[in-house]
Amino acid sequence: MPMPPPLRRIALTAHVSTSVGWFGAVAAFLAVAVAGLATGDTDRAHGLYVAADVMTWAVIVPLAGASLGTGLLQSLGTSWGLLRHYWVIAKLTLTVPATGVLLLHTRPIGQLADPAHRTALAGDLHGLRVQLVADAAAALLVLLSATVLAVVKPRGTTAYGRGRAGAAPRKSPVTT
């Protein structure tokens, strides 16, 4: 169902804003995770993981959901479609698992922020702190790949997309 142009522009603005915001928030999270891993001060490390927990729930998770939602809206509301172009499929297969893994990994972040685990930060939870840095770096890479796909839009139409293009006159799509 095609969206009228004003609504399409609003949806596009929302999608770009939330996607770039998601990327920026993960970059900030990575900085906090690296600082938490590098410090030898348990109190400082605990404070940093509390900040990381707040960032996760207040910024990263809502932006991830909004980016995914507005992306789906953009796909379904324009002639780009959800399954017509390989770049849209590729972007979707990057962001859906990334959101799932993000939600799975909120638990270890909460563990590190838990005051009950403050004394274990230097010992038993060291591996978890390393993992937080690795996860954030991997998430940045995934989000960067999605951004490149959205900007470059590599060519390739699926058989379904070719069928749809043959059935209906093509309109100029507007999306990221």
Partner: protein, 44 residues
């Protein structure tokens, strides 16, 4: 807008590489988690 390939063209090479890398990474992720080689998810 990037022009579409001619009708009848198959899956583009970049997408095949993307899918192959994705499958390898997903497999590595699953194996690492199944074998417990990641210091994660309450494993302390």
């Amino acid at each position: 807008m990037t022009p579409s390939p001619p009708a009848g063209a198959g899956m583009p090479r970049w997408f095949k590489i993307f899918a192959l890398v994705g499958v390898v990474l997903a497999g590595a992720f699953l194996i690492a988690h199944l074998t417990g080689n990641v210091p994660t998810h309450g494993g302390h």
